[in-house]
């Protein structure tokens, strides 16, 4: 059951990605509607996957690398729908949904075995908090990443005065910059809290507050620094536009990199 629904959601996101590309190039309103419903269907299937798996393992989808990827992809779609509903940027789908597809496709190659759950209630609580908050933060960052890429494309066109098809299709720089900032404003505190609760769960497991495992923690600290630069830079010195977009892109790449290092 969960296997079928997993494959269905994977297939839906692939189809929706293609549809969004077609929409970007040819702009047929029907195509974007179809893409939207296909994503919704994918989300439904994925919800079934998560539900079935959670009932089998007896806990939420955040203990193994597979579950984390599954949950991240799911949340990315949810955040995408919220953004789409608020901002009405239909072309965002062409940048977010392929990313969702990649995350989910990647998860298909990971071990589906359930992980051991710590016995202590307290440790379990902090670990759950850590993982849920972090994944929520990452989902917000994925939208900032997509908005950042769109910003750079649009900015490049206006700056170099070569106004291609994308210039007309994509929203204004102001909207993209605003979206970038808003999602980081939501994602950054979640990410920070996730970071802190992670450290607390470390101490619960009798590890040092910062487990200075270089390969695992350093990139995460780097990502946190990038996002804090974008976040506080915006509020204090008006850091915006291209630099903010680049920050959102680098930050997300670092986050994804950290995740890979965790798996290796």
């Amino acid at each position: 059951m969960d296997k079928i629904s997993f494959n269905l959601s994977l297939f839906s996101y692939l189809m929706a990605s293609l549809a969004y590309f077609v929409y970007l190039a040819y702009r047929r309103p029907l195509v974007s509607t179809i893409a939207g419903w296909t994503v919704a269907f994918g989300l439904l299937c994925q919800t079934v996957t998560i539900g079935v798996r959670s009932s089998q393992t007896g806990h939420g989808p955040y203990t193994t690398s597979f579950e984390v990827a599954l949950f991240l992809a799911w949340l990315m779609v949810v955040v995408y729908f919220l953004t789409e509903w608020k901002y009405k940027i239909k072309d965002l789908g062409a940048f977010v949904i392929p990313l969702v597809f990649i995350v989910l496709l990647f998860s298909a190659f990971l071990s589906k075995d359930a992980a051991l759950v710590p016995e202590s209630d307290e440790v379990r609580f902090w670990l759950t908090m850590h993982r849920t908050l972090s994944i929520m933060g990452y989902a917000a960052f994925s939208i900032a990443f997509a908005a950042g890429i769109m910003y750079l494309i649009q900015e490049h066109q206006v700056k170099t005065k070569k106004l291609g098809i994308m210039y007309f299709r994509m929203p204004s720089l102001e909207v993209l910059d605003d979206l970038n900032f808003k999602v980081i404003m939501i994602g950054f505190p979640l990410f920070t809290l996730g970071f802190m609760t992670g450290s607390i769960s470390n101490t619960q497991m009798d590890l040092p507050f910062f487990s200075w495992d270089l390969t695992r923690t350093l990139p995460l600290v780097l990502a946190w620094l990038i996002y804090s630069l974008v976040f506080f830079g915006r509020m204090m010195v008006g850091l915006r536009g291209k630099k903010a977009a680049q920050g959102a892109i680098f930050g997300f790449v670092t986050v994804i990199g950290t995740y890979f290092l965790h798996i290796l």
Partner: protein, 426 residues
């Protein structure tokens, strides 16, 4: 009598082949238009008509009994009405019938036949022409349906192609850029440095898109004041503008200064004061007013007159490309309309239905007469007459009603039913 065969014709002249000296003589102004529509609709040969008269075209769309006669009549009408001899005008007229006329109207409404491809005005003009004609009851089922369809097609073309979205004048290209940088222009301000005519035009365009705050600076303070008054803005002394530059989101320069009056350092300071909020600089002065290196600064976008002209040229080319996909939409819609249109013609169906009945009648009568060999020729003839009039009587009402019904919106349903009930398509 209203014909059951709907023949659509169109006669007209447009900007492509007809010089303005001729077009202006053939134009129908509002007063003339109403009288003309009434005069035309009183002609027995013309069932419906609409006159479209703009500065680029004069066209009459009509539903007539006879195509050739209708075209000739409309040409004569245009010439007679304006008191011009037909011979001198014949070379300018074009005329189309049925699908070609449908396609032409769709192209005109979607602005594919306009002087500036994709301009929005023509659709409004076609709508006006239609409502004037409709108000005078000079239209009927066919033209109503045709024009309503044309408006839908124009909307579809506008929505699904980029034919109208690219500005093809300097000021509209500038507004488009401003909207791609700032999205909503309402909370943004514009500063004019210099009071050139082009700058004023661009500023008016921006104001029409919602810009509320306007600053005007000029070497001659009085000119700044008077332009500020027309634009409902505030005047600045020429030296003051440098200090106030940071207030403006959009700056339009058009001074006659021989050198650059805005340097990279000035913009650097302004952007710093603005906490990196973007500035859009439009330099329409020749020689230029703004140092080109300004464009290297982050969050600063500088366009000079050549840049804008390049944008306009590229946009024109893009519209041309979009016109091709618009033509695809139009072809599809013409086919759809023709499917509806062809069902309006009840005559072939009636003829087929009667033929079918006649063949049956003859077959049955012949069969019967073979067994009744004792009948004289006169009796046989009487039987033929009897059955003929029986068939006629039975089919009379359906024929009349079918003709009537095909004049209504659901006419095609009746035609389809008849064809089905009588097995006409087997």
């Amino acid at each position: 009598m209203i014909s059951t065969e709907p023949n659509l014709v169109l006669v007209g002249v447009n900007h492509k082949a007809t010089p303005v000296e001729i077009r202006e003589k053939l134009a129908f102004n509002q007063v003339k238009l109403e009288a003309s529509l009434e005069q035309l609709v009183s002609c027995p040969e013309i069932a419906e008509n609409i006159i479209l008269s703009t500065c680029n075209r004069v066209e009459i769309y009509a539903r007539v009994d006879d195509t050739d006669q209708g075209i000739k009549l409309l040409k004569d009408f245009i010439c007679d009405y304006h008191g011009i001899s037909r011979g001198s005008l014949d070379q300018y007229f074009y005329s189309y019938t049925d699908n070609q006329a449908v396609e032409h109207l769709f192209r005109v409404s979607a602005s594919l036949d306009s002087m500036i491809l994709g301009e929005a005005q023509i659709l409004g003009q076609v709508k006006d022409a239609y409502s004037t004609a409709r108000a005078l009851s000079s239209t009927g089922l066919v033209l109503n349906q045709l024009f309503e369809k044309a408006f839908n097609v124009a909307k579809k073309v506008r929505e699904e192609t980029g034919i109208s979205e690219r500005g093809v004048s300097i000021s509209s290209a500038a507004v488009e850029l401003a909207k791609k940088i700032f999205e909503d222009l309402e909370n943004h301000s514009v500063m004019l440095v210099g009071t050139g005519e082009m700058a004023e035009l661009a500023a008016k365009h921006l104001i029409s898109y919602g810009v509320k705050t306007v600053y005007v600076a000029s070497r001659t303070y009085e000119r700044a004041v008077s332009l500020a008054q027309t634009l409902n803005g505030c005047a600045l002394g020429f030296d003051a503008f440098k200090e106030e530059l940071y207030r403006a989101d959009i700056v339009i320069t058009s001074t006659a200064a021989p050198n650059f009056i805005i340097s990279k350092e000035m913009i650097e300071q302004a952007i710093h004061k603005r906490k990196n909020k973007p500035i859009f600089l439009i330099d329409i002065a020749v020689p230029r007013d703004i140092a080109p290196e300004v464009n290297d600064l982050e969050n600063v976008y500088l366009y000079d007159i050549d840049d804008l002209q390049n944008v306009v040229n590229a946009n024109m080319e893009e519209r041309q490309k979009e016109a091709e996909s618009a033509m695809e939409i139009i072809q599809q819609e013409v086919t759809k309309f023709n499917n509806w249109f062809s069902t309006l013609d009840a005559v072939p169906t009636i003829v087929e239905m009667r033929n079918r009945a006649e063949v049956m009648r003859i077959n049955e009568v012949d069969k019967t007469l073979k067994t009744l060999t004792h009948l004289s020729d006169i009796d046989q003839k009487a039987i033929h007459q009897l059955t003929q009039s029986l068939v006629n009587k039975i089919l009379h009402k359906p024929t009349i009603n079918l003709k009537k019904k095909t004049q209504s919106m659901d006419g095609h349903v009746y035609l389809k039913a008849i064809r089905h009930l009588f097995h006409l398509d087997d």
